[in-house]
């Protein structure tokens, strides 16, 4: 019997989910004392009665509704399928109306509120009418609602910077169903957090938290990822920014590359890996790290023999690629984006440790910066996560001796960690970088954990353990047998191949000189290079230290002076990962607020008495 089945199916499809004809009951609370001048409730009822879809409009007394059955009978009799309760605090009556609707066999959730109290400032009849009309149409009332403008609004958002802040903001927006362009300067998203081994104070594996988010970005159809890309020009204004992005050629077809690594095996060029902070090497055609997103090889034109010889030499990668994915002659291109909102999440650089000459960074091989140590102790680093000292090795190509990390290199017997390198120092950066105390304690833990025999010294000025669980973390590390010295290190010197670290223990009031094998400089944070140029392009301000300036330190830490441009993460000021993630979500909320409101405006504009239905409430 195919026919009845067909009929059944058709009727099932055609059956309306929501009752087609809205029959709305508007109930206006008649306050005993008129709380606001200018609201005539009786006139308001007359106004409401002529709104499209309104079946009943009357006032109710400002007393608790005693007889719910009577109300249900009224609803049933008028055939109401939606209710609007209007008044100063209409929420008080909502349970009663919901109950009555349910008793009448209708949807109990179809009770909408029109609250006058939510509207701050002077109240007028017109305003009250607008609030009621919005509620009748099922549209959230916007206090700033103006006459419908034809100004176009682009719901897409651009996120600048693909670190944890950019990733979080992009995911928040994309998962709400809106378009995101994620513009990242390097070859992969992940940013600084991808370099970390552990997070403080929980000692979680950083990659285990970050990589799922990175993968989610790569897989989200609403996110268009632009790596090796830099913002060149920004014009327009909130709702309709026009952005010109320079997209450097990766010279590898992302759709064809399967990241097999054949190209890199045959690439004759070797250089320092940026991702490993220079303590490991990579090829001229490379992938920043195995979990990179997009997981595609790319060519570094600064070192590529083919590029440098203008196509005359080499080209091994293109020849060896079985997928034919390498296109050495690919050109950089400009991409024009149109977006409504921009979220800036450009993060930070660490201070150049060479500047603090007295610590000997760059002179003594085993004086490392904090990010170098992160890579050293990371399982994906050059030693597989073993903490070893650099050894001298002959570079076969350049015939020069180099200091390199080897997995089987000698283990340090004593490690010193120097806090506040270039921070809290008016000669460098006068501000506190906020994360160094905690990451230094984390390093101390890693040293003690991986090298239980090694001594570990921390030279600090003040231990700033301000966050949740930080003080406990500090106590824990102290109990693990790390020597905490209160005093700033004045110098690191090398005497007969042995490093000595010299400082005053300001509690014991003694000068101490300690022989150590490795020194970790806890360098401070400073704005990412190019932040000034980006601020000029975006037309946003920076503070004295170079961080992007927020609109209001306390109340608007996400917004900038330009509407539609928000900041998230360290680019606004030093902060740790939880704060960065929270701020990124908040920035996404700012963008989404404008997107949602715009969509509501559009639907309000499109609602005419003819097509006014009761929008389904989600």
């Amino acid at each position: 019997m195919p026919e009845p089945r067909n009929q059944n199916r058709e009727s099932a499809v055609n059956e309306p989910v929501v009752a087609a004809a809205p029959r709305i009951g508007v109930f206006l609370v008649q306050a005993d004392e008129e709380p606001r001048a200018g609201v005539d409730v009786t006139a308001l009822a007359q106004y409401a009665a002529q709104l499209p879809g309104v079946a009943v409009a009357r006032t109710i007394a400002a007393t608790p509704i005693a007889n719910i059955e009577k109300l249900a009978a009224e609803i049933r009799k008028a055939g109401l399928n939606a209710i609007v309760v209007a008044g100063e605090h209409p929420g008080f009556y909502k349970p009663a109306f919901a109950h009555a609707m349910a008793l009448a066999g209708m949807d109990g959730s179809a009770v909408r509120l029109a609250s006058f109290a939510e509207r701050s400032g002077p109240m007028s009849n017109a305003c009250a009418q607008a609030i009621v009309a919005y509620a009748v149409r099922g549209v959230p009332y916007a206090p700033e609602a103006k006459a419908a403008s034809n100004r176009s609004f682009n719901a897409a958002t651009m996120v600048i910077g693909g670190g944890i802040a950019g990733i979080q903001a992009a995911l928040e927006i994309a998962e709400s169903g809106n378009k995101v362009y994620l513009v990242e300067r390097s070859g992969t998203i992940g940013g600084r957090m991808a370099m970390f081994d552990k997070t403080f104070p929980t000692l979680d594996c950083a990659a285990c938290i970050l990589t799922p988010k990175m993968v989610a970005v790569g897989q989200n159809p609403n996110i268009e990822l632009l790596v090796l890309s830099e913002v060149q020009e920004v014009s327009g204004s909130f709702g309709q920014f026009k952005v010109k992005v320079l997209k450097h050629a990766t010279r590898v077809d992302a759709t064809a590359c399967v990241a097999c690594g054949d190209c890199a095996r045959f690439c004759p060029v070797t250089t320092a890996s940026e991702f490993d902070m220079g303590i490991a090497s990579r090829k001229g055609i490379f992938i920043p790290f195995p979990q990179a997103v997009p997981n595609t090889y790319m060519i570094d034109p600064e070192y590529c023999t083919w590029v440098l010889s203008e196509g005359k030499k080499c080209g091994a990668c293109a020849k060896k690629c079985s997928k034919g994915a390498v296109h050495l002659d690919a050109k950089d291109e400009f991409v024009d984006l149109e977006v409504g909102n921009i979220i800036v999440a450009t993060g930070y650089d660490t201070l150049d440790a060479h500047r603090v000459e007295r610590y000997g960074y760059g002179t003594y091989p085993n004086v490392l910066t904090s990010l170098e140590f992160e890579r050293l102790t990371n399982a994906s680093g050059p030693t597989g996560g073993k903490i070893t000292m650099k050894v001298k090795k002959l570079n076969k190509k350049t015939k020069a001796e180099e200091w390199v990390f080897e997995p089987d290199g000698p283990k340090p017997k004593a490690v010193a960690i120097v806090h506040c390198v270039g921070s809290r120092d008016r000669n460098y950066n006068a501000y506190c970088s906020r994360v160094c105390c905690m990451y230094s304690l984390k390093f101390a833990h890693l040293v003690r954990e991986k090298l239980p025999e090694a001594k570990c010294y921390e030279y600090y000025i003040d231990m700033r353990a301000f966050g949740k669980g930080y003080e406990e973390f500090h106590e824990r590390i102290r109990e693990e047998g790390v020597s905490l010295v209160r005093g700033r290190t004045a110098s690191v010197v090398d005497r007969d191949g042995q490093l000595y670290i010299h400082g005053e223990d300001t509690i014991a009031e003694h000068l101490i000189t300690v022989p150590v094998d490795m020194v970790i400089l806890s360098v401070g944070l400073q704005p990412s290079h190019g932040a000034g140029e980006l601020a000029r392009q975006l037309g946003i301000a920076r503070d004295d230290d170079g961080w992007f300036r927020e609109l209001n330190y306390n109340a608007e830490p996400n917004s900038t002076e330009r509407e539609g441009i928000y900041v998230a993460g360290v680019c606004q000021g030093p902060k740790d990962i939880p704060d960065t993630v929270a701020q990124a979500s908040a920035a996404a909320a700012h963008a989404l607020r404008s997107i949602v409101r715009h969509k509501a405006d559009v639907s309000a504009r499109q609602t005419t008495p003819e097509n006014a239905g009761v929008p389904a409430r989600s």
Partner: protein, 384 residues
């Protein structure tokens, strides 16, 4: 028993040039950067702490400030701009005023107006005194510079300068005694047996003449300048106090005496110009801050050197009257400079510095002999 704090100490020290000590956050970088600082004399951070906490007594009994030569490395590296080097300089000025029993030093350091007034008064008195002496008791003829009948005969000048030397020496000695009292009987001090005083006595001339500790500073220029200035000064002093007759005989140049004079004159002018230029250009950390007393001292030094040279030139050029007038003007600089600087101000450090090194050595030697501190605090806290 608690240590009494004087909360106004840091404000008081502002008048002495320690203006930025309040900024210090006690990181200890300065102490570790200093090439002189070593246990148990760890400075300058500790002095900064005393200042911030208003610990007047421990600060007064401290030897540390005199062990600092102000190379300025601490100030260069200071993360807070607390100027530990200048703070130590300020503390030395304050200590000078504390050692001085007359209270004149404190008055001169705290108010540049009083210092200027004192200089002018002493200068005018000197000028009037020598002029009237020359007219009434001396040669009586302003047109005679040397030989018999000289307006200001060398033997008369000698009577004056030896008297003045004895008086200033006495004042300075009393101040040195007070320094000894404060520092060697301070709260952490160790009682030093007399034999040790004798055994280490040679330290005093050694450090006085060589200033060899100054050489530990990374920058050797200040040490060189300091040494040149001091030797020029001492040479000139010796020439005037002992060989004035030979110096003023003429018109022929007595090379055996005058060559020393020329050398030291060059030394005095060159080093004072170098210092004035450095302070004006603020070319180094130790020249960044200048107390009024520094300018007065350098100004007087340059004035005295130049008037001395002019007087000599005028004499050799056969202009005795002009030479005599310049001579009096020269003395109007010399007398206030010595009278005010030697016991009460800058020059006194020539005595205090070697003494401090000597005392510090004595303390350490006594401790090495197992003698325990006997001060009030030490009794309360025998381990410390």
């Amino acid at each position: 028993m608690a240590v009494r704090a004087n909360p106004d100490l840091i404000d008081e020290l502002q008048h002495f040039g320690a203006k930025d000590a309040i900024k210090c956050y006690q990181c200890g970088n300065c102490s570790a950067a200093c090439s002189h600082s070593e246990d148990p004399y760890v400075f300058p951070r500790k002095s900064m702490r005393y200042l911030q906490m208003g610990l007047e007594k421990p600060l007064r009994s401290a030897l540390d400030p005199w062990l600092c030569y102000y190379c300025g490395k601490c100030s260069e590296q200071c993360p807070r701009g607390a100027e530990p080097g200048e703070t130590m300089m300020g503390v030395r000025r304050w200590l000078t005023s504390q050692y001085d029993f007359t209270g004149i030093s404190r008055l001169l350091y705290r108010s540049w107006g009083s210092e200027l007034a004192a200089i002018i008064v002493v200068a005018l008195l000197t000028g009037a005194g020598f002029l009237s002496f020359g007219l009434l008791g001396g040669g009586g003829n302003l047109a005679v510079y040397d030989g018999p009948g000289a307006f200001l005969p060398p033997h008369a000048i000698h009577v004056f300068d030896w008297t003045m030397g004895a008086l200033l020496g006495l004042l300075l000695s009393i101040n040195c005694l007070r320094m000894w009292q404060f520092t060697m009987h301070g709260e952490h001090a160790v009682p030093v047996p007399f034999s040790l005083y004798v055994r280490h006595l040679l330290l005093l001339p050694l450090h006085f003449f060589t200033q060899k500790r100054f050489r530990h500073c990374e920058d050797k220029t200040p040490w060189t300048n300091h040494l040149i200035l001091m030797f020029s000064y001492l040479t000139m002093l010796t020439l005037i106090m002992v060989f004035l007759k030979e110096m003023q005989s003429g018109p022929k140049v007595n090379w055996y005496a005058h060559s020393f004079g020329y050398l030291s004159a060059i030394g005095l002018v060159a080093t004072s110009i170098f210092a004035i230029r450095g302070r004006l250009k603020k070319d180094a950390a130790y020249h960044r801050h200048s107390h009024e007393s520094d300018w007065m001292f350098l100004g007087l030094l340059l004035f005295v050197s130049i008037t001395g040279i002019i007087q000599h030139v005028l004499h050799r050029a056969g202009l005795p009257m002009a030479a005599n007038i310049t001579y009096i003007v020269h003395l109007m600089g010399v007398v206030p400079m010595l009278a005010l600087e030697v016991p009460f101000s800058k020059w006194s450090h020539l005595a205090y510095r070697p003494l401090a090194i000597y005392f510090a050595q004595l303390q350490q030697a006594a401790q090495a002999q197992g003698i325990r501190p006997s001060g009030r605090l030490a009794k309360l806290n025998p381990v410390a």
